[in-house]
């Protein structure tokens, strides 16, 4: 492998300067390809900034004149709209994560420590199938099949818990009734057609299960067998062994995997686009059951882009830039956490 060996080798079949040129050429070629990747990433950032600049530097009234979904009013100009979309994106992604993370850990444990060894690889493949299904098909299934199916459940949750501000539907009517000679105003809430942040969150959760499961499973499988056997030898039950040996060892990996899932959920477009109502006007609504109140950056770009004029495109690219920065930060943090684990673990 070392270059010293190479230089001392008898140069018969591949002798002469040609060999040297080809050797250097190939090394340079592969190095060039590698550098291309770094350049591409830099270009992504550069071009997004360049194309976003017109919208970012235009004054709000000019922008409102040219872009129909922006207005020169408080809360409806570019930055507040981006902020409300970031809010919607974070809410929906967090919901997805809150649902997907525990289930994924369970699946990872099932594959690594509960299922028979022979089946483990096959079961992992079954979970990977969930990742293979294109997101547009999740969107179609979510919009036509899943939401109508869970609508009664959503309505029940809303009816039972609408005293909680984050589980309250949209006010569709106010009724005034006379109780003991006093007017009592009651509000009637509705979850509409069920196209709410919670539905989008559930479908996203299904989509990010595989990535969280795959990374967590790998980490769980790397738990030193000695730790596990020691725990069992001390009389631990299987769950206690997992709590004492597997989870402490795998914790950084679990956190990293979860953040990778978050990164995926933040950037997911089509499923959210097809599930949320197209006429959603994003607001800072904390209720995950309020219809037409949330939208995500990615879904909003997909919705507005086909009909956008040049300034509209610029404004949408500014949103894309915000999404890029957020997902980049989340992913870099996730990778850093995961790589830190592999450096310090004695198991590898």
């Amino acid at each position: 492998m070392s270059t010293a060996t190479e230089e001392r080798a008898p140069e018969q079949a591949f002798a002469g300067p040609r060999r040297d040129i080809l050797n250097r050429g190939f090394a340079g070629l592969s190095r060039g390809a590698a550098i291309t990747i770094l350049v591409t990433l830099a270009l992504v950032a550069t071009f997004l900034v360049k194309e976003a600049l017109p919208a970012l530097t235009a004054n709000p009234s000019d922008l409102a004149d040219q872009v129909d979904w922006l207005k020169d009013e408080p809360g409806r100009s570019l930055w507040p709209v981006i902020a409300s979309l970031v809010f919607g994106t974070v809410i929906i992604a967090s919901l997805a994560l809150a649902i997907a993370a525990p289930v994924s850990y369970g699946i990872a444990l099932f594959i690594s420590h509960y299922a028979p060894r022979r089946m483990a690889a096959g079961l992992g493949y079954v979970i990977d199938l969930l990742a293979a299904i294109p997101s547009v098909i999740y969107g179609l299934w979510g919009a036509f099949i899943f939401i109508p199916a869970i609508l009664p459940a959503l309505e029940w949750i809303e009816r039972s818990f609408n005293w909680l501000p984050f589980l309250r539907g949209r006010v569709i009517a106010t009724e005034t009734t006379m109780v003991n000679g006093q007017e009592v105003v009651t509000q009637v809430f509705s979850v509409g057609t069920g196209r709410v942040a919670l539905s989008a969150g559930i479908v996203l959760a299904i989509m990010i299960l595989p990535i969280i499961t795959a990374v967590t499973r790998e980490v769980f499988l790397q738990t030193p067998v000695l730790h596990e056997e020691a725990a069992l030898a001390l009389g631990a039950t299987r769950w206690e062994m997992i709590r004492m040996a597997v989870i402490p060892f795998g914790k950084p990996g679990m956190i990293g995997a979860t953040m990778l899932g978050l990164g995926r959920a933040l950037g997911e477009t089509m499923a959210v686009f097809m599930i949320l109502s197209p006429w959603s006007i994003p607001r800072f609504s904390v209720s995950v059951l309020e219809p037409s109140a949330h939208n995500t950056i990615a879904a909003n770009i997909a919705l507005k882009f086909p009909e956008a004029n040049s300034m509209g495109v610029s404004a949408l690219i500014a949103m894309g830039l915000a999404l890029f920065v957020i997902t980049l930060a989340v992913n870099m943090l996730a990778r850093w956490i995961i790589s830190r684990r592999s450096e310090f673990s004695g198991a590898n």
Partner: protein
């Protein structure tokens, strides 16, 4: 071991009923988690199959018998609730765009993997490994915006052609190809490289003819899985390529339809009005088209996955590890 001792859990009480119950409960929870994940998978696949065959059962006169019209027609001249129209143009578009994306990303991805495994050292190697991981997390819609912005500068604003979409998909595909090729190159035994170099074979030939050849099946598997992943990408194509109703063979000129975008555009058309009883008309034909296209897309993706796994299983060399 140290962790266990430090936590002070070294002395475990005798197995009490409580501990046994907790153990059982957690076992049940873990089994439940796995079952829970299977529900949407089965539900979705069954739905796509059962709803997807509907469009194949209608011919252009609105009669119901099995036919292949959906695969052999484009959407040219199809309007309203006409029981016609298919995915020929979309399937062609998907094929063209995916092939171009693969042609861009496979050489770059493979060469980068070769650099990382065979040549790389120091900060550049670390930077590449790290940023390839980061690149995996680029949202697909951002890749689409990037390609659009790039071509807006290169070819004028508003350029929406297949090549723009292919560049967007390539951005998404490269890190996947690098990752999988890297893993495959790594498991090639060092003895093979050393034997080749000892025979006086130059390094570049060793890499190409020994290392890459040994890992070839694995690399092919990785590339096919990467294709399977980008073939269903919708958002970047919606932005960078747009929609079209007719065939377009030219990746450098004009918009081109693709299968995933076809699904969305049929979905967004919604039910069609059927007012004239003399004309064959099906109100939910658009929905049927969307499901049928979803069925075709899922079959393509599953086939790619299956072929990839079969290649990995039967063609990979036995490394003895």
């Amino acid at each position: 071991m140290a962790a266990v001792v430090e936590q002070g859990t070294l002395t475990l009480e005798p197995l009490s009923r409580r501990r046994a119950t907790v153990d059982r409960l957690m076992q049940a929870a873990v089994y439940a988690a796995f079952t829970l994940a299977l529900i949407p998978l089965v539900w979705l696949i069954v739905t796509v199959i059962s709803r997807g065959v509907g469009r194949f059962m209608i011919d252009s006169d609105g009669e119901s018998h099995f036919n292949w019209d959906f695969l052999t027609q484009s959407m040219r001249g199809v309007y309203g609730g006409m029981p016609a129209g298919g995915i020929l143009h979309a399937a062609t578009g998907t094929l063209i765009i995916t092939l171009i994306a693969a042609a861009i990303s496979v050489p770059i991805g493979l060469l980068t993997a070769i650099y990382v495994v065979e040549y790389g050292r120091g900060p550049l190697k670390r930077a590449i490994t790290f940023f390839v991981d980061v690149m995996t997390g680029i949202p697909s819609i951002v890749a689409g915006l990037f390609a659009y912005a790039l071509f807006a500068v290169l070819a004028g604003p508003g350029t929406k052609t297949a090549i723009v979409g292919a560049v967007a998909l390539a951005v998404l595909m490269i890190p996947v190809v690098v990752r999988s090729s890297e893993e495959m190159l790594r498991i090639v035994p060092n003895e093979l490289r050393e034997a080749s170099l000892a025979l006086g074979v130059p390094k570049w030939l060793t890499v190409l003819k020994i290392v890459v050849r040994t890992a070839f099946a694995g690399i092919t598997t990785g590339v096919m899985l990467a294709i399977a992943r980008v073939i269903g990408e919708t958002a970047p194509l919606l932005i960078a390529v747009g929609v079209a109703d007719s065939m377009n063979w030219d990746p450098l000129d004009g918009r081109m339809m693709t299968l995933p975008v076809y699904i969305v555009s049929e979905y967004r058309k919604g039910p069609q009005p059927c007012n004239n009883p003399d004309v064959a008309c099906i109100a939910d034909i658009t929905v049927q088209r969307a499901w049928a296209a979803a069925l075709v897309l899922i079959l393509i993706v599953m086939a790619l996955n299956l072929i990839a796994r079969l290649i990995a299983k039967y063609l990979s060399p036995k490394t003895g590890r």
